[in-house]
């Protein structure tokens, strides 16, 4: 679960940036004019992107006004979906998959490293406020287990060493590039690469 508790320090105001305003107008065009509140989820996502990965109350009020809907309805949506963060998660938001395939392949060790390096508790910012971590359910990359998601990117085929390196790089604000850390190409097999075109059964 993501952070559903409202952060106690809220910014006073929120407004979409120039780019997001343009993006918002494009999103609005997808819906009939009298159904414009359908855009609420996309708007919340925009707000989250703009505000360092979390949505302040001011943004909900702003969106409610923008879409002519009651504030409580925006609040309901924001609290319902787990991928909206309602409190700061840092510049680098680490989501560790701990569902069965990842766990079999050692996700618990990844969690241990996160605990050691970022913060003892989930959903807590690291000391330098750059990073926080969270256990999540399956992120759909079971072939490359174990894996973590940092902001939008998947870091796959991890072990203790590579995880440590990644987290260290985050904490120094110099993140490594996302990739398979056993140097696989996408989900291709590591050894005995068989070209699919040569496979008779393909």
């Amino acid at each position: 679960m993501s952070i559903k508790k409202i952060h106690d320090q809220q910014p006073e105001t929120f407004e979409f940036s120039k780019e997001n305003l343009d993006a918002a107008e494009i999103i609005l065009k997808k819906y009939p004019r009298d159904r414009k509140k359908s855009a609420v989820m996309a708007f919340l996502y925009l707000a989250q992107r703009q505000n360092q990965n979390w949505i302040p109350l001011a943004a909900m009020k702003y969106i409610a006004k923008y879409l002519d809907m009651p504030y409580i309805k925006v609040y309901e949506v924001a609290t319902f979906y787990t991928m909206y963060n309602l409190a700061p998660v840092g510049k680098y938001f680490v989501q560790v998959c701990t569902t069965t395939p990842c766990l079999i392949r050692g996700a618990d060790k990844v969690v241990e490293i996160c605990k050691k390096k970022i913060s003892e508790e989930e959903n807590t910012l690291s000391e330098n406020k750059l990073c926080s971590w969270l256990e999540v359910e399956c992120l759909g990359a079971c072939v490359n287990a174990p894996m973590i998601q940092i902001n939008d990117d998947y870091y796959e085929d991890l072990d203790e060493k590579s995880t440590s390196e990644i987290i260290d790089s985050l904490l120094q604000d110099k993140p490594l590039k996302p990739k398979s850390f056993r140097n696989r190409i996408n989900t291709a097999p590591e050894k005995n690469k068989i070209e699919t075109t040569t496979n008779k059964n393909a």
Binding site: K65, P70, Y71, I72, K73, Y75, T79, F80
Partner: protein
């Protein structure tokens, strides 16, 4: 009509009904929590599961539209097992605190668990605990008990029109909360207490007061406004413990306003229970003999024309009639019922009624408000207008700004010219009016109070007659009366109107012409006391009791039988639920006492003899609880506008509008919250 088979019985149903409604037609009771007739369908509690032929799973009957040839079974093991399963889940997280829960005895969950509950729980984990929310001075919350039926959310959004309650989070972590934990800014907010099927939302002022089976229940009528909402008064001994709504689809449906519901604690406070007489400039306790003696001496010493009488906002028709007879016996015709100088034309009964009827609002296709604020002047009426607005997208216009009415309306302006333009077919909505089939024109007391009040009313009537909007099928002429006693007083003729002067009583009052003024519960009448001898007869020591020379304690509306005519002209009976405190008497008995002292005869032998005469005196009276007979006279009075005037909707101190409400602690709490919200602002 299509047919459906329910438990082997074939039933005809109307198209568009749900399976649950069809089952009700077949007299089969379906348990439910989230479904409510007056709200939209949510289908989330799953308690109403029934078996449908050819469906492998049970279906939620409240959300399933009934269709031709469906075969529904509600009494099979399959259904029972399904409902038991649902109930087990509901109870998994529901605390077992019925002994300390105020809903106990009238709780849907309690009742239904009797049939579908298990005797012990298989849920060995910890129960979920939820923080209680603050929802204002009326609603007490115990959110751990909530079963997430979302009735309160739907009510706030659909009926009250203040979308301030919502469900946040999801699954086990779902919680019901209000906007930033503030009280609801609605005059209908306390209806969520009735809607809540469990004890999550209970009544704060009534908390731990009584159990439902201990209370005596009396079906009665509300007098806080002129709508005549049907209520049930629950009493414990003398005390009125609470007031609940009674279903009447023609008036209040299932709702009552917060004032109706919670002003009742004012019935316990500030009561006048013994007669008072002013001695050496101070009111002192006295007894009936002395008080009545002083009054009759005073009356004998004055000429009848120097005696004036006024009845207040909550007087029953019996009181009004008996008072009129008493004054006429004394020889005075100086009586009135108005608290403010608003224009009336009582020549024709349609001139002071809400002729379109409250149900008619839903049929209407255009509503024009003239100088009225239905939200405060008739809260239940406003809920109907909102219903019409939501259901039929009825266009609503207002002349004079009433503020937030919980629905969208177009403000045409607040100038007299706006009305003139309509009458002269020059307005921008003229075409819209002409095209509409069933328009409603609602004129409020604020408009009738203007110098041009008579012009607005008479010309409006002429305009409607000209456009054929006043007929026996549809009457678009509506007056929004504010006080419960007003229509009754008009019906019984307790007014004094000259042909060219609508306010002779007020003229005399302002010139301090009266030597003796007899006030029957009139607290909102502004009196500049000079030398008058003032008799105050009423239930509460309020504004005008303070300036009285003799105080006669009488019964409040819950303590005596009485008839009240609501704004539609519907005569309804308010029944005695309690009895007058201490030495206080019913109003007609007091008039009898005075008559006995003055003339040695009683005015009336009993209340029923007054009632029988009243029935004969009410114009166009049909039957009790029914609308009056429709008679259209269409007399035309031509008037010209005097100068230019702004139509301002006079604000009402909603929670403090009468003496009972002013004595009520709950009402003053509500008022303070409202003032606080106004000061700090809610809308960002």
């Amino acid at each position: 009509m299509p047919k459906i088979i329910i438990n082997g019985k074939e039933i005809e149903f109307e198209k568009g009904m749900t399976v649950l409604q069809a089952c009700e037609l077949a007299d089969v009771e379906i348990p439910r929590f989230c479904y409510h007739e007056k709200l939209s369908i949510a289908g989330n509690c799953r308690m109403c599961l029934v078996e449908m032929e050819r469906s492998p799973k049970p279906i939620a009957s409240c959300a399933m539209p009934a269709a031709e040839g469906m075969n529904i079974k509600t009494n099979t093991e399959f259904v029972k097992k399904a409902r038991k399963g649902v109930m087990e889940f509901l109870l998994a997280n529901h605390p077992l605190d019925c002994p300390v829960c105020d809903q106990g005895g009238e709780c849907d969950l309690q009742d239904q668990s009797l049939f579908y509950g298990f005797d012990k729980s298989r849920f060995s984990e910890n129960k979920r605990a939820v923080e209680d929310k603050y929802m204002g001075p009326l609603i007490k919350t115990q959110m751990t008990r909530c079963i997430h039926c979302t009735r309160c959310i739907r009510f706030a959004e659909e009926v009250a029109g203040v979308p301030e309650i919502g469900a946040i989070g999801r699954g086990e972590n779902m919680q019901i909360t209000t906007y930033l934990e503030q009280s609801m800014t609605s005059e209908l907010s306390a209806n969520v207490i009735d809607l809540c099927p469990v004890g999550a939302l209970t009544s704060k002022p009534y908390a731990f007061e009584a159990r439902p089976w201990e209370l005596k229940k009396t079906e009665s009528i509300d007098v806080m406004d002129a709508i005549g909402s049907n209520i049930r008064v629950d009493t414990y001994g003398w005390e009125v413990k609470r007031i609940l709504p009674r279903l009447n689809n023609e008036i209040n449906e299932e709702w009552i306003s917060d004032k109706t519901r919670y002003a009742c604690d004012g019935l316990l406070k500030q009561r006048l229970d013994v007669p008072y007489v002013k001695k050496n400039g101070k009111l002192e306790k006295s007894d009936w003999d002395e008080a009545v003696g002083i009054i009759s001496q005073k009356i004998k010493s004055l000429s009848p024309s120097e005696i004036g009488g006024h009845v207040g906002d909550m007087a029953s028709m019996e009181t009004i009639y008996a008072f009129k007879i008493l004054l006429e016996k004394i020889g005075s015709k100086n009586y009135d019922f108005r608290e403010k100088k608003f224009y009336i034309n009582p020549q024709d009964k349609v001139n002071y009624l809400f002729n379109s009827s409250i149900n008619g609002i839903e049929e209407s296709d255009l509503i024009i408000l003239i100088g009225c604020n239905p939200r405060h002047e008739g809260t239940i009426l406003n809920a109907r207008i909102r219903k019409s607005f939501v259901k039929n997208k009825t266009k609503i216009y207002s002349i004079g700004n009433p503020g937030d009415l919980t629905y969208d309306y177009t403000l045409l302006g607040d100038d007299l010219n706006e009305i003139k333009n309509i009458f002269e077919d020059k307005s921008k909505i003229t075409q819209e009016i002409k095209n509409s089939k069933k328009p409603i024109f609602i004129v409020g007391e604020s408009a009738l109070e203007l110098k041009n009040g008579s012009y607005i009313f008479e010309e409006m009537k002429n305009y409607l007659i000209k456009n054929k909007f006043i007929s026996e099928d549809w009457n678009a002429l509506n007056v929004l009366i504010q006080n419960a006693s007003t229509v009754g007083a008009l019906d019984l003729g307790l007014y004094n109107i000259d042909k060219d002067n609508n306010f002779p009583f007020f003229d005399k009052l302002e010139k301090n012409h009266f030597k003796l003024l007899y006030l029957v519960g009139s607290d909102n009448l502004h009196i500049k006391k000079n030398n008058e001898f003032i008799i105050y007869q009423g239930s509460h020591g309020d504004k005008n009791a303070a300036i009285a020379d003799v105080i006669l304690p009488s019964a409040a509306y819950t303590e005596q039988d009485g008839l009240f005519t609501n704004i539609e002209g519907r005569v309804q009976e308010c029944r005695k639920a309690s009895y007058p405190p201490n030495e206080a008497k019913e109003d007609w008995q007091i008039f009898n006492l005075i008559s006995k002292n003055l003339y040695n005869t009683n005015l009336f032998s009993d209340l029923h003899s007054i009632r029988n005469i009243i029935f004969k005196n009410i114009p166009n009276f049909s039957e009790i609880d029914h609308l009056p007979i429709k008679k259209i006279k269409n007399e035309i009075i031509k008037l010209n506008a005097i100068g230019d005037e702004k139509i301002a909707v006079k604000p009402i101190d909603y929670y403090f509008s009468n003496s009972i409400a002013r004595a009520s602690k709950t009402m003053s709490d509500c008022r303070n919250v409202l003032l606080d919200i106004k000061k700090n602002g809610t809308n960002n």
